[in-house]
């Protein structure tokens, strides 16, 4: 008890003395990183939990690209189930001259069967739940769409042939995507208004769905009965599966984000271990004194543990506040990207982060403090008497156990944990060796520099191990940030540069055969060269070499996906300029024999299909068999219409065909599109530039958020630096006093210390720039198949950031040592 009181009493003073500030900061940073991520994932998790049960807006959904037979609806109704019909398709809507691609979601009266739609009465206004759906002639539109076309409530949007009145801002519908918002914001329309829009015709890309809800067993019975009758093209989803998928997606996001936080936590752990050692060392004299005055080992250890616990508690409080503020920032950055609005934060992340802080302190600080227990009381008389050092195996074991405990929550699986732990140990060892190498290289140059630099470089070399740890800790944070800023922009620009300047920037889909002439006419009138119209036929693969695709083992999951999906087929006599035959031969332009096919090389690999294989496709109830005659390479970046499977001319004659086309329309020619869509409302025009811009925006915001998490990593790196400097502060104070006593001017001593930090900064900068360049090259070449171009800016920024941040932090950490009056220092040391 008296030990606890004593610990409490002296704690405030310990804090004020500043000795434990680095330790406190390290704990707060770890907690900050964990809670920032924790709060965010907790909120997303809650949103998912809230929404998971209503992701279908029903208990069962039957979805198809064909209209749902009314008979199914009747059967559900007969079994006492409630039903609703929905259909959705992409379309371009207009407000005056402004247009935007949108997802039109048309629903019947009883929608939604589960959950509720929420709307607001003004942009960014308070949202409320509504019963029912938009009335005839009305739409509820997503705020993002209204912003894009500069419209507001009370305005009318042109949807196909119809002008519909905007009566509310759509803020939430149960079956919207849970994670990232889709590229095309949606409008909710009364299904009865759809025929008048003229947007649906044969071959249109429409998804029809029948929603069913009711008592669990009745739904299950209906589902079971339907399973035997449903054609392949209809997909049934039930609530349980869908909510499970939603949960597992949220779970993956959570794990990824918490892993990014773990890097900061690991660096904080290094800072904690370093500053705890320093703290213990400083406390040794007091402990020896207390022991000489009669304190028992238990008293000593109780005091240490209570103070450590208090420190942990304070760290958790400060860290949680930092985490909360950071999370609010993160949520703000991601606001546009996350489709649903987020629930309020809960306290759970604080509890979890508190637990992690405890694990960190036990794993990294406690070993040093436990050592204090064994301080010999004789130290009051003989200062050189030290307690026996703790067993290295024990210290490493305890820290590894702590890291494992922290990671387990993010990984959640023992094998993955073992791999990750092994990876961390190997990478840490490699980085440490690189750090040592850099330090050693710099040490070599010290004979060729002035006195200040020589002194600085000598210090870096002398504290080789600590220097290497600082270089790595700081370099790591910097690497990630360089990667997320400069490299990201480079990659995006690099990809842009590979595109041809005159590459098409607009796609038109859903062009009916009879519309080709009038569409060409509209472009000709606007002095734009009419595009090539490429035929498109929707089909489904049924057999390969006579065997059902259902029984076939596909070599890869992507291959299985290709075989089972609704396919887009096309045919042509001439090979497109963006294609190149790799194997086999392209058919003659006037070919009229049995159907031949040319397959894209990657699909060929994924499906294991090759020349001579026979494929059977079903198109509108008829079967077509074709033989693969060639394998093609496709340049997708050309933005020309391209297909995985091209057929020979005549192979699809008489099948329902629509056309697609791509062309380049300059900014000033945009008005031709307005005319096109007004006169041909069922044609969807996709503005690639706008979509690319949106994708870029999403990437930017997402990386900004990840970057924010890595700011903690950088801060933890700085904490390591502080801890390292603090552990040498007595030495530095003495050296500085000695040098000044020997006649060195203060500015010389100062330059020496700064030279030391500059050298560390250069080393960290080299590590970070080299690391980021190497990773950039790997990402560019391996992942995106882009040529890697070296960017000198990466090195300039990396080195400058390294030197500036390390020098500033180092100066702040070491200035006390430089400024201490020599006479005081030397007297105290004597």
């Amino acid at each position: 008890m008296k030990a606890i009181l004593f610990a409490l009493r002296s704690f405030g003073r310990e804090i004020r003395s500043g000795e434990v500030l680095v330790l406190l900061a390290a704990v707060a940073l770890a907690v900050g990183a964990l809670t920032a991520v924790g709060f965010l994932t907790d909120r997303i998790g809650k949103a998912v939990a809230r929404q998971a049960n209503e992701v279908l807006a029903a208990d069962l959904r039957l979805r198809s690209q064909e209209p749902i037979p009314d008979e199914w609806r009747q059967r559900a109704a007969e079994q006492g189930l409630r039903t609703a019909a929905t259909l959705s398709f992409p379309s371009v809507v207009f407000h005056g001259e402004d247009s935007a691609l949108t997802t039109v979601k048309a629903v019947s009266d009883s929608y939604p069967l589960r959950g509720a739609v929420r709307v607001a009465d003004e942009l960014f206004g308070e949202q409320r739940e509504v019963a029912g759906i938009p009335g005839r002639g009305e739409i509820w539109a997503d705020g993002a769409l209204l912003a894009r076309v500069d419209a507001d409530i009370g305005d009318r949007l042109l949807v196909g042939d119809s002008e519909l009145l905007i009566t509310a801002v759509l803020t939430y519908r149960p079956d919207q995507s849970i994670g990232f918002a889709s590229l095309a914001p949606s409008i909710l329309v009364n299904i009865a208004d759809i025929p008048a829009t003229g947007l649906i015709s044969e071959g249109s890309r429409v998804r029809y769905a029948l929603l069913v809800a009711g008592a669990d067993d009745a739904v299950a019975e209906f589902n079971a009965a339907m399973q035997n009758e449903l054609p392949d093209s209809v997909r049934a989803s039930n609530r349980e599966e869908s909510s499970e998928r939603a949960y597992s997606a949220a779970d993956r996001a959570q794990r990824f984000l918490s892993l990014t936080a773990v890097i900061s936590v690991l660096l904080s752990a290094v800072a904690i271990a370093m500053s705890a050692r320093r703290f213990a060392l400083r406390r040794m004299d007091t402990v020896a004194l207390m022991k000489s005055l009669g304190a028992t080992q238990r008293f000593v250890i109780t005091v240490s543990i209570v103070q450590l616990a208090l420190l942990g508690l304070l760290g958790v409080v400060i860290g949680s506040v930092i985490g909360y503020v950071a999370e609010e920032g993160l949520a703000l950055m991601l606001a546009d990207l996350i489709a649903s609005d987020l629930p309020d934060v809960g306290m759970m992340p604080v509890v979890l982060a508190g637990g992690s802080a405890l694990v960190l302190l036990v794993g990294f600080a406690l070993p040093s403090l436990i050592q204090l227990r064994n301080t010999p009381p004789l130290r009051v008389l003989r200062h050189d008497v030290m307690p026996p050092a703790p067993s290295r195996v024990l210290v490493v074991g305890v820290s590894l156990a702590a890291v494992a405990a922290l990671l387990y929550r993010s990984v959640g699986d023992a094998t993955m944990l073992a791999i990750l732990l092994g990876g961390i140990v190997v990478i840490a060892a490699l980085l440490y060796l690189v750090g040592r190498g850099l330090v050693a290289v710099m040490g070599r140059y010290r004979s060729g520099v002035g006195v200040a630099w020589r002194y600085g470089l000598a210090n870096v070399a002398r504290r080789g191990r600590a220097s290497a740890v600082q270089v790595v800790a700081f370099g790591l944070g910097l690497t990630v940030l360089l990667l997320l800023t400069i490299v990201r922009t480079d990659l995006l620009e690099g990809w842009r540069a590979t595109l041809e300047d005159d590459a098409p920037n607009h796609f038109m889909i859903n062009i009916q055969p009879h519309e080709r002439e009038s569409v060409a006419g509209i472009f000709a009138d606007a002095a734009i060269e009419p595009p090539d119209f490429v035929p498109l036929v929707r089909a489904r693969m049924t057999a390969i070499n006579g065997g059902s695709v259902k029984d076939r083992e596909h070599p890869t999951p992507d291959g299985a996906w290709f075989v089972n999906r609704e396919a887009n087929l096309s045919f042509a006599g001439r090979l497109s300029s963006s294609n190149e035959i790799l194997e086999g031969e392209w058919w003659p332009e006037d070919y009229s024999g049995p159907p031949l096919a040319s397959i894209e090389e990657e699909v060929a690999m994924e499906t294991g299909l090759g020349i001579g294989d026979r494929l059977t496709y079903e198109v509108a109830g008829r079967e077509v068999e074709m033989t693969i005659a060639s394998v093609r390479q496709v340049n997708w970046d050309s933005f020309q219409p391209n297909f995985f499977l091209m057929l020979s001319p005549g192979a699809l004659d008489g099948m329902p065909t629509t056309y697609i086309a791509s062309l380049r329309i300059e900014e000033e020619q945009q008005s031709v599109l307005v005319r096109l869509v007004r006169t041909h409302p069922s044609i969807s025009v996709i503005d690639l530039d706008a979509i690319l811009e949106q994708v870029r925006g999403i990437i930017e915001k997402a990386t900004l958020a990840v970057q924010a998490v890595f700011i903690f990593t950088l801060a933890a790196g700085i904490a390591v630096l502080f801890a390292a400097v603090q552990s040498t502060i007595d030495e530095r104070r003495f050296e500085s006093a000695m040098l000044r006593a020997l006649g060195a001017r203060k500015v010389t001593v100062f330059s020496g210390v700064m030279a030391e930090f500059a050298a560390l900064g250069v080393a960290a900068g080299v590590l970070a720039s080299a690391g980021a360049s190497a990773l950039a090259a790997i990402i560019a070449v391996q992942l995106f198949e882009l040529p890697y171009t070296f960017n000198p800016l990466l090195w300039i920024v990396g080195l400058a950031a390294g030197v500036i941040v390390v020098c500033t932090s180092g100066f702040l950490a070491a200035r006390g040592a430089i400024n201490a009056p020599p006479v005081d220092v030397l007297r105290a040391a004597g």
Binding site: K2, F6, T286, K291, G294, Q297, P377, V380
Partner: protein
């Protein structure tokens, strides 16, 4: 003031204590076969040149370290038979210290430093007792100051107050004036002898200041680890 020993009875005794340490040059004998007995209330100076083993003897007498052979009996307890915590309890109960370099806890103020041994020994009225004795050493108005805010002499006064607060049977002082100028040192010693007389504490003072030693009842002289003389002083 009464302390925790009976005046005139034996309070501290060394029985043939030796201390050897191993060094790169082989085994080094720091103390060899030192024996003596100190009665309660005596003031004893231990003198000798540097390296004679004065501080080692002090450490062994106070149980901060154990002898290689022989044993020490402190206020009735054979220190060699106790473990570290046992010896700590004996110190909490019967021992006070004044060190050359003061050894105040920097994170505690003067009052808290004085209270520390009382609290360790579980004394009830620790605060009032401490305030009284701080007053006695002349720092009544500075009890709330931290060590960093005190001069060397003031620090040693706090240390003396701390040493006497628990009314120890034996007070060990290791070169208490070594870090003070002679004027301040004189005043500090004056204070210490005064308190020692008033509380009839046994004082064991390690010093190489012979004038200071002469003020004690008895002077033990060490040379090269051996006790070379044991004489009663004038007092």
């Amino acid at each position: 003031m009464a302390n925790k020993s009976i005046d005139g009875a034996e309070v501290l005794s060394a029985h043939g204590i030796s201390k050897q340490v191993s060094s790169p040059e082989g085994t080094l004998t720091i103390l060899s076969g030192v024996s003596f007995t100190i009665d309660a209330g005596e003031s004893v100076a231990v003198v000798g040149p540097s390296g004679a083993g004065k501080s080692t003897l002090l450490a062994l007498l106070a149980g901060l370290d154990l002898p290689t052979s022989g044993h020490v009996v402190l206020n009735g307890s054979n220190l060699s038979e106790l473990d570290e915590d046992g010896r700590a309890r004996v110190r909490a109960d019967s021992v006070g210290f004044v060190f050359q370099s003061f050894h105040l806890v920097p994170s505690l103020n003067a009052l808290e430093n004085v209270m520390l041994p009382l609290e360790l020994a579980g004394v009830a009225a620790a605060r009032q007792t401490s305030l009284d004795i701080i007053d006695e050493v002349g720092l009544g108005d500075r009890w709330s100051h931290y060590p960093s805010q005190l001069s060397g002499g003031e620090k040693q006064r706090v240390a003396i107050a701390r040493a006497f607060a628990a009314q120890p049977a034996v007070l060990f002082a290791d070169e208490p004036t070594g870090n003070l100028d002679s004027g301040t040192g004189g005043k500090i010693m004056q204070l210490m002898f005064e308190l020692n007389r008033n509380s009839s504490t046994t004082l064991v003072l390690v010093t190489h200041d012979l004038k200071l030693a002469e003020r004690c009842d008895r002077v033990l002289s060490l040379a090269a680890g051996e006790l070379v003389s044991d004489r009663r002083g004038p007092a």
